[in-house]
């Protein structure tokens, strides 16, 4: 939400949103130093929760150096070293969004180190999967990394941005799957509902991209409208857009929402 205006918070609250979860992500440019991440983590854990609180919206965050900046292993390790100091902040849910971007060896190294950090501190994990042509291969590599760390429980990891060619491998491996909705270029509400209908809703949720590109903080409520158009019951909609995220996120004792 650091890229959005407060009008978005107002719109989300009016649409029924009861909490916002914001992962550390790429700013659209590479930070020049680890100090830039220190300031960013303060923004995510101090300032942004206060901004959301003006709209009575609880704000939670995930911390990491995102894969787009993990090609510089030296910088990434400096950032990794400062994350434990922020893990006891009251709005931090875990490590994320970690993962891969172009599926490079350095990205893999830093992903492995993030996973070890999460395991050592018993943190939930939010995983970003690569875009477009890199997603299928990257998702397979990410599953290999996660599955090779015995301290990681798949039920405490959500692998985000799944599409029709990756959702099966994620769910089959026991992880949660997230569908990220975009107004263009990636998954639409209609395709998200297709995946819900074919894959089931046991370990599935939907989320809105709310970044500096074309994105829509109300994409999940719009997907709920799509589900109603298809004849799904209010109970099914409630399970997918509220109960499932609540079930996953409540594994962190910090996560609390008004029910």
């Amino acid at each position: 939400m650091v890229s959005r205006v407060t009008d978005d918070y107002m719109a989300m609250v009016m649409a029924g949103c009861v909490a916002v979860c914001e992962p550390a992500f790429w700013a659209g440019f590479d930070r020049a130093s680890a100090q830039g991440f220190y300031d960013y983590f303060r923004q995510l854990t101090e300032y942004e929760p206060r901004r959301a609180a003006r709209y009575h919206l609880p704000h939670y965050s995930w911390l990491c150096i995102n894969p787009k900046e993990s090609e510089d292993v030296g910088l990434a390790r400096e950032v990794l070293a400062m994350i434990p100091d922020f893990l006891d902040r009251e709005n931090v849910l875990g490590i994320g969004e970690i993962g891969l971007n172009k599926n490079t060896r350095n990205e893999m190294r830093i992903l492995e180190e993030h996973v070890q950090l999460a395991a050592a501190h018993d943190q939930l994990i939010l995983v970003h999967t690569p875009h477009l042509e890199d997603k299928w291969k990257g998702t397979r590599l990410i599953l290999d990394v996660l599955s090779s760390e015995p301290r990681i429980s798949p039920g405490r990891v959500i692998i985000d941005h799944v599409e029709e060619h990756t959702i099966g491998m994620v769910l089959d491996a026991g992880f949660w799957a997230g569908i990220t909705l975009y107004p263009e270029s990636k998954c639409t509400p209609a395709r998200a509902v297709d995946m819900f209908e074919t894959a089931g809703a046991d370990r599935l949720w939907m989320n809105c991209a709310c970044d500096w590109g074309q994105s829509d903080p109300l994409a999940v409520p719009k997907a709920a409208v799509e589900m109603r158009r298809r004849g799904h019951s209010e109970a099914q909609i409630e399970k997918l857009i509220f109960e499932n995220p609540l079930r996953f996120l409540s594994q962190s004792p910090r996560f609390k929402v008004r029910e």
């Binding site: 172009k102 060896r105 350095n106 875009h131 477009l132 890199d134 997603k135 291969k137 004849g231």
Partner: protein, 90 residues
Amino acid sequence: MDRRQLLDLYFIDARARLIDLAAFLDRLERAGAGEDFRAEAFLRALKELDKPGADRAKRVLLALSDPTQDPIAAASGKGACGAYPPFEDA
């Protein structure tokens, strides 16, 4: 929903997208000849639409995906272009 209901709900939208696809291919044609791996991948993925089975979206996505298994040494940039170039390596 049954087939009729799905058509009632989505046909007009899908029809519009189909015409958009056709217009895009026309635009490429008018631009003249020239090799580009994205256009080749697009045309190959398009063939998946005409094959039977309720997994066309998955097959189209796979047709546009990097099929290799190992991490690469280094990336030339951060962005993705939507298609995988070295088909001869697949």
